[in-house]
Symmetry: none
Subunit: 140 residues, 4 copies
């Protein structure tokens, strides 16, 4: 039998709060998605002005990061032409995201969820995702 630890809804709201605050600070309204450790959505917020396309992208970044236990930008590097993971970006009906902005949420060395941001540049998305994690871990 396995015992799994995963984010609860209060954790998810902490992650969103940290990401939202950073998004406001840099002036980019974001789509923010939080999944549990299985990659299943537990919370989502499209800030006023966040892009419609980014809804699915944010959810899929969080899904990828949690369920593959890997930051999406790491896939971005690994899947460049010539690299052995090339082509993975269209896997799972295109849900496997290789663009930065999805981060696994790790507690005590264990992946307990994922956070995915979209609407800015990949660098902005990554910055806001990290801010969500920092806020969450800082409050524990």
């Amino acid at each position: 039998m396995l015992t799994i630890r995963r984010l609860d809804q209060a954790d998810a709201q902490m992650l969103i709060a940290g990401a939202r605050e950073k998004a406001r600070a840099i002036g980019v309204p974001m789509c923010i998605a939080i999944t549990d450790e299985s990659g299943q959505l537990i919370a989502f917020e499209r800030m006023d002005g966040g892009k419609v396309t980014s809804t699915t992208i944010a959810i899929d970044k969080a899904f990828t990061a949690a369920a593959a236990k890997k930051a999406t930008h790491e896939y971005g590097t690994a899947s460049q032409p010539g690299n052995p993971t090339f082509g993975i970006h269209s896997a799972i009906g295109g849900r496997l995201m290789v663009v930065g902005g999805g981060l696994p949420v790790t507690v005590d060395g264990e992946v307990v969820g994922g956070i995915g941001l979209s609407s800015g540049t990949p660098a902005q998305d990554m910055e806001c995702a990290q801010a969500g994690i920092d806020h969450f871990l800082g409050a524990r």
Copy 2:
């Protein structure tokens, strides 16, 4: 050019708050989805214990209610065998929900968004969706 009114994120949180409170009162952890008037997701919460399958179902109920401007349980009646809308439930890749729990959010006679609940019985889902709307409209 058309001018459209739609829910903002603060409105979405009011809708979720009302639905969540009712869900707690009846002891059924719910998935709660809010869309804008075009059926695009703006907020989602899976309460601790909410069903994984209900994530998509709640989102699609909110989508249907907003984008078709009709409560999903009305489709449920209209699409019973022998009725003229029979078979509509598999339209749009199965996203057209005919099970109760999706309600359009209407302000001044205009549909401005949708709310979708899932995890309980259809009657419970409908009760919580209505509680979300009541809370939202009561606070305006």
Copy 3:
């Protein structure tokens, strides 16, 4: 070798014009889709106020009517529980529409395209689809 006759763009606009006029007359803004004889979209119009969900439904009604050479309401009858076509409504990823509002466009006994309407009741959708065909045939 086969020689195929199909609607051209001018024909499609005639079909839309007739359907639109009827939609205005009955006061229901509609989604109107025209396909060629293969079921491939050639023209589409969402009248101001037409439903977002009806975009796909109208296109799929026209697709079904043209490509299956059968009115969608005929499928509605044939696919009722107990009938041998029961279950066909979820075929082709849910694109096979069995709700009224899709009609094949027939010239000299040959199906040359399809018209699909959605946003009203099935009876209203069928009435407007037929008005499109009447207008098109009357102008030939």
Copy 4:
């Protein structure tokens, strides 16, 4: 509550007219799609001779441009191998188009819709999309 401006059907027909005229001038029959600001289809025309594959591509270009508020060719540059957005082209079930020919339609600094062209080279598609916008803006 948010107040949104979006293209109406008359606007959509102006956009199509401008794009169609340019397509005729360069001798390339095009698929032309117009979406509202949320990326939802409001009008579509496949000119006689337009490609069947281009139906979906034109619709998805318009969707991407409107809903991501960005020209599809800008994604084309940003998503080249080695660039941080590499791999985005298969997002949203492959609907996120990174090939030129999709442009947001902007009025008073606000994205109010999208136009997507397909059947020619990306350069031809872009030229015709821009012609649609020029015609629309010139008539206002």
